[in-house]
Symmetry: C2
Subunit: 167 residues, 2 copies
Amino acid sequence: MSFHDASVAAYLQMLNSLTGILTKAEAHCKAKNIQPDVLLGARLYPDMLSFTRQVQLVCDFATKGCARLTHSEVPTIPDTEKSFDELKARLAKTIDYVKSFKPAQFEGADSRDVTFPAGPDKTMTLKGQQFLSHYSLPNFYFHAATAHDILRHNGVEIGKRDFLGVS
Amino acid sequence: MSFHDASVAAYLQMLNSLTGILTKAEAHCKAKNIQPDVLLGARLYPDMLSFTRQVQLVCDFATKGCARLTHSEVPTIPDTEKSFDELKARLAKTIDYVKSFKPAQFEGADSRDVTFPAGPDKTMTLKGQQFLSHYSLPNFYFHAATAHDILRHNGVEIGKRDFLGVS
């Protein structure tokens, strides 16, 4: 099993499908005369994160996942996006970054130690396999699905095929 | 990288965390005098699936994922659950089933052909690696996150730590 396939290809599927979902959300706003900010700031409960933050976090988990698994420098990307176009640009930049990793960089990454922040003054260390399967991917999919769910809850006509990127 | 770790361990994390989330949802119903059926039947949009169906599908994707990746017989489990207890029993049964697979059964499964239904009269064949990374896990996490999101939207006090099973 290729660890590059299990990580990079998984991140890319969702980063691409989320780009398609953003295009549908934007079209929905135009068709229904909805201010984009309404959807961009929508959340499923007052103390949950907004749609925009969910998308930023999807990008973050993909970016930092690749960086940490390959012991590369972890980029710091400011969360400044205020429009669908800016979120799509963030996704496109994330896709380019994720694609820049070569399969060879992931060789042996499953058993390599990965240390990452776990709270304000704490770090956690897991083997690459555990980091990917129990931390990075579940977080990544959680925010991708929640982004989808926020739009779906607001009437955007998307479904699981959009989420999987097969529509 | 162990393909058993990448599949069985990932399924188990979420099946266990969802069990904990169900316990919190049930306690929430008792504390707030909410009929369990209200949460069990809750959905984020009229044509989305209910909470109960989301949990059943999480179980299904784990069960069928293990069966298909190991070329075992795919069990057919009727979707009959009508209470939190019955859903917890379904999760427990799924956990037992998933745990029954041995690492050796997953050796070479990444490059094995996996054929599965893709619509009423169609099947699709993917290599095990692609089946796991692009079909089984994204579907599995999608329904787990949506189950979480339905409860969260209805005021159950859970968060991402519950989703990850680290709370």
